[in-house]
């Protein structure tokens, strides 16, 4: 329990250890700690950014989906409209066609009737001529009296 040289040795050793610690131990470890802290902070910030970006992306996706829905609805509406138009057009065409066919049929019937009438007229003319021949007992030249026959036929 004497105070002796041990005291000085310990003082010097303490100083040396503290100096070496200050030079070789403290700085590298603090550097590693600080670098890691910076890295972690960076990582957290990146995670935060990613989260925000994800949220933005989700919002964008929702907007895009909404737009797509409206567009789809538009397309459907347009298609409906176009369908109606086509339907109307087809109806109109069909009516026109029907009208045309009716007209054609009408015209044909008219034509047929005219032809029948004409035939009838000619027959009547012949009959009249034959009757006149009979009546006159004399052959009447058909070509010489054609005008008369025609005028007669017209009166029928």
């Amino acid at each position: 329990m004497n105070i002796n040289l041990t005291l000085l040795v310990q003082m010097i050793a303490f100083g040396v250890f503290a100096a070496f610690c200050m030079k070789y131990i403290w700085p590298p470890i603090m550097k590693a700690l600080e670098e890691r802290a910076a890295k972690i902070a960076e990582g957290l910030a990146a995670a935060e950014r990613g989260k925000q970006e994800q949220e933005l992306g989700e919002q964008r996706a929702v907007a895009v989906m909404k737009e797509a829905k409206t567009q789809a609805a538009d397309v459907v509406a347009q298609a409906q409209k176009r369908y109606n138009e086509i339907l109307d057009e087809a109806k109109r065409d069909a009516q026109a066609e029907a009208e045309r066919i009716r007209h054609a049929a009408h015209a044909e019937i008219e034509q047929e009737a005219n032809r029948a009438r004409e035939e009838l007229r000619e027959r009547m003319a012949q009959l009249a001529i034959a009757a006149a021949e009979k009546i006159l007992q004399k052959e009447v030249d058909a070509s010489a009296h054609k005008d008369i026959v025609a005028a007669f036929a017209k009166q029928i």
Partner: protein, 287 residues
């Protein structure tokens, strides 16, 4: 343990004597054979056990931490680096909490104090007779008288060690006081308060006591705690070797005291570190 051949007093005395190497007035350069011879060697003697255990433990810790520091990575740390970082972080927290000025020495100094004092205190948990007995037997092989081979393995129970550390801290306190405040500022701090300039003799006495009590209390607190702790281990060790009941109660007591002592050795290392930081902070503070 050796109670048959030694009285209890001799046993305790043996455990409290350092392995002293010095120049004896009559025997020349030799190891002291007893406490009286050690005292006769005067100031220029060396407690070889204290010095070797202290430097050895310090060196071990230094090697370990330097090894970790050189391979320190900012990525995922391995076990050793994690451990060292945990200690460094703990010390750094304390320095930042107590030390307000800017000084790159304080934190490494505090780390050195904490780790070194803790390791020296830790030697107290090794059974008191184990290493001294083994060492005495070993020296006996070389013809030494085993009853006069001393070995104290807890350096912090040697006031030389604790005073050595507190005096270094004290020198740093003086150095930074003068460096930060100047000679005049430091002198003013010692003489101009608390009673104003006309009360300067009283101021000097009060501030002087205040100043010198720092290294004294710092080292005596550590020394006293460790010395008392070691003494209790020695007293418990005296219970062994008589009968079974004493042996068993001694074992229980030793275990209980060792567990309690884990708290004390950590606490003392922590207190030494914190007070070192606080004293250096006061040295940097302007009034």
């Amino acid at each position: 343990m050796s109670a048959e051949t030694l009285t209890a007093q001799d046993y305790i005395q043996h455990h409290l004597t350092n392995l002293t190497l010095g120049l004896h007035p009559e025997h020349g350069l030799t190891f002291a054979n007893n406490a009286g011879e050690a005292a006769a060697m005067g100031f220029w003697a060396l407690h070889l056990d204290s010095v070797l255990w202290s430097l050895g433990l310090g060196y071990l810790a230094y090697r370990f931490m330097v090894g970790v520091a050189q391979k320190a990575t900012a990525g995922v740390p391995n076990g050793a680096q994690n451990f060292v970082e945990w200690i460094v972080d703990f010390v750094n927290e304390n320095v930042r909490g107590s030390f307000s000025a800017k000084n790159d020495l304080v934190a490494p100094l505090a780390l050195t104090v904490f780790v070194w004092v803790f390791l020296m205190n830790l030697m107290d948990l090794i059974p008191v007779d184990l290493i001294p007995y083994a060492f005495a037997q070993f020296m006996g092989l070389f013809g030494a008288d085993t009853h006069h081979v001393f070995m104290r393995i807890v350096p912090t129970t040697d006031p030389n060690i604790t005073f050595g550390m507190s005096l270094t801290v004290f020198l740093l306190v003086l150095y930074y006081s003068v460096k930060v405040k100047g000679v005049g500022g430091f002198a003013a701090e010692l003489t101009m308060q608390p009673f104003g300039k006309f009360g300067f003799p009283a101021n000097l006495v009060l501030e002087g006591i205040n100043l010198f009590s720092k290294p004294l209390s710092l080292s005596l607190r550590l020394f006293g705690n460790m010395y008392a702790g070691e003494m209790i281990f020695i007293l418990i060790a005296l219970m062994y070797g008589h009968n079974l009941l004493l042996d068993l109660s001694g074992g229980v007591l030793q275990l209980a005291w060792a567990i309690f002592h884990i708290l004390i050795i950590t606490l003392q290392a922590f207190i030494f570190m914190v007070l070192t930081i606080v004293y250096l902070d006061m040295a940097h503070a302007h009034h």
